[in-house]
């Protein structure tokens, strides 16, 4: 199966800016899905994409799969209904830093706590790109955005620490400078039962880079490669597999409730 077979090629060209990190995420996810559909690891008819609002949330609409483009910050709440109503669905949630950590922060921690069996891919580009470059909950302190013209006075969230604190069993962080590793991470997330969270540090050259000293997307990807490490290194952002444990997923716990109540049909 070709990558084109899993995409809605009638929707090209897409709306993303040149150099946008979401292109890498789209590319990597499409390749991983095409491979899995090809070798029968995954059924395309049972694979569902859910997203909120923002640039990254537009990605599901480019896949020739069932996809739900929902409201700002709420894709995990919609996914909770989809997955518990039909546990046979493989649910992938695509979100961003504003969507997941600001307006959707409550849904994020509760989905992690419940151990909802979904794969969350968070395109974390430190900025509200769709609305033109406002500060987000992951914008580094001191950085410039259209709403922090004097520098961001707030400290940022570490999204991986946040979801691990809420109980997420499988958490990884990669960047758009690591497409091969990111593809493997998505594969692991699809294999795991339970809440998998992949924080993808990504570039927004249009609305973040140009206001913070980056000349183009290439420079931003270089920065991501040079300033991250799979080991704990002073001054570098830790990437890699941050947690990989097993915990009983939410739908299996609901199944036990049905067994207790006698409604499991057996």
């Amino acid at each position: 199966m070709d990558v084109e077979d899993v995409l809605r090629m009638d929707r090209w060209p897409h709306i993303l800016c040149p150099g946008c990190g979401n292109g890498t995420i789209l590319n990597v996810l499409a390749r991983e899905l095409a491979e899995r559909f090809e070798n029968g690891d995954l059924d395309p008819d049972k694979t569902v994409l859910v997203s909120g609002i923002g640039c990254s949330s537009r990605l599901p609409g480019y896949f020739r799969l069932d996809s739900l483009h929902t409201t700002h910050g709420r894709p995990l709440a919609f996914a909770t209904g989809l997955k518990t109503a039909n546990p046979d669905l493989e649910v992938i949630v695509i979100t961003g830093d504003g969507d997941a950590a600001a307006i959707g922060g409550n849904h994020l921690i509760h989905a992690a706590r419940r151990n909802l069996d979904v794969t969350v891919i968070c395109a974390n580009n430190y900025i509200y790109g769709m609305t033109g470059g406002q500060v987000s909950p992951t914008t580094p302190e001191g950085d410039v955005s259209t709403t922090t013209p004097y520098g961001n006075p707030e400290p940022p969230f570490d999204l991986c620490e946040l979801v691990m604190g809420a109980g997420a069993p499988h958490v990884e962080r990669w960047t758009t400078a690591h497409p091969v590793q990111l593809k493997a991470a998505i594969g692991r997330a699809l294999d795991r039962e339970g809440f998998s969270f992949i924080d993808v540090l990504s570039q927004c050259p249009t609305n973040y880079g140009r206001r913070n000293g980056f000349r183009d997307a290439r420079e931003m990807v270089e920065w991501l490669r040079e300033n991250t490490s799979t080991r704990d290194e002073e001054g570098k952002i830790r990437i890699g597999i941050l947690r990989d444990e097993e915990r009983e997923p939410f739908h299996a716990r609901i199944r036990k409730v049905l067994e207790k109540a006698g409604g499991d049909g057996d």
Partner: protein, 376 residues
Amino acid sequence: MRDENGKVEFLQGNEACAEGAIAAGCRFFAGYPITPSTEIAERMSARLPEVGGVYVQMEDEIASLAAVIGASWAGVKAMTATSGPGFSLMQEHMGYAVMTETPCVVVNIQRGGPSTGQPTKASQGDVMQARWGSHGDYEVVALSPYDVQEMFDLTVECFNWAETLRVPAVLLADEVVGHMRERVVLREDVETVDRELPPEGEEVERPFPLEPDDLVPPMPVFGRGHRVHVTGLTHDERGYPCTDDPEVHRKLVRRLCNKVRKRAGEIHESVGYDFIERDSDIALVAYGGCARTVLEAAEEAGVTMFRPKVIHPFDEGLVRRLLDGYEVLVVEMNLGQYYEMVKMALDPDCVHLLGYPGGYPPTPERVVEEVERLGG
């Protein structure tokens, strides 16, 4: 105990609502505790697992309706229940359910507002919010039960109309009917309606046709090969975002409204209403818990009484046919919300209001006093 139609029980209105939902085929409930609706969630958490259904208590009301919509796209009939403050939070997803044409049922056991208001007291203050609480132009179905039996029966009707029209349907009840206990027949003969589906395993190329015959397209189900993209953005026939073509937006929004408006008469006929005609110049109009004392007042004063069960869509033709020529007194537990719609249907000078917020319906004596003031 049983009668010919089913099991007879002595239940609270909220419990009867939960039983009606299960009889209608509801197999998913997501909610958040709030007075005076909580008993619905409690009953559903006990009953749904017995029939193979799923109950989830969400982190808030916004998430509750989101999960319900998600379950509905998984092909399962789904419901949530709340009261005013929670209904306010749900408005975001009322709009999303309208735009994505997702059948679902939202129960609002109204309490006094604005804001947290009177948590344990009855109100009918959300009549207009049920219609247009979310942004944009749209229409929904809202039904108002006046006793415990109707808490069961109209919950079934809400599911049936939600499935028929692919809209969110609101059971617009109030604390009076939610918390009272009465005899109720848990009918086993309920007629249920299921949404029309596209053929299984086939990709649906035009899931949102701009002008389908009966204005309601068949609804794809996630996981069955329909491969559909669903968005809250203005979308074209393929379901793809299309936000800058005025004609596409106009056609979509007109269809979303017309599929409900054009069937207003049919909905009123099928759900029913009470019209007790008496030889009088005055007619009383009341619905929901408030209608209980007003029905008594109408009998006492010997005047005509109209009790609608369908609040939205409003059927102007019906109201005109029944009430034209009367001096009409609308009695409701708010400052005049249904009243405004009645005024638009009739000669406004002949429509009067006894607006009665505060937590309790007016006594029959209070209503009769008002009838006498009008010369009845």
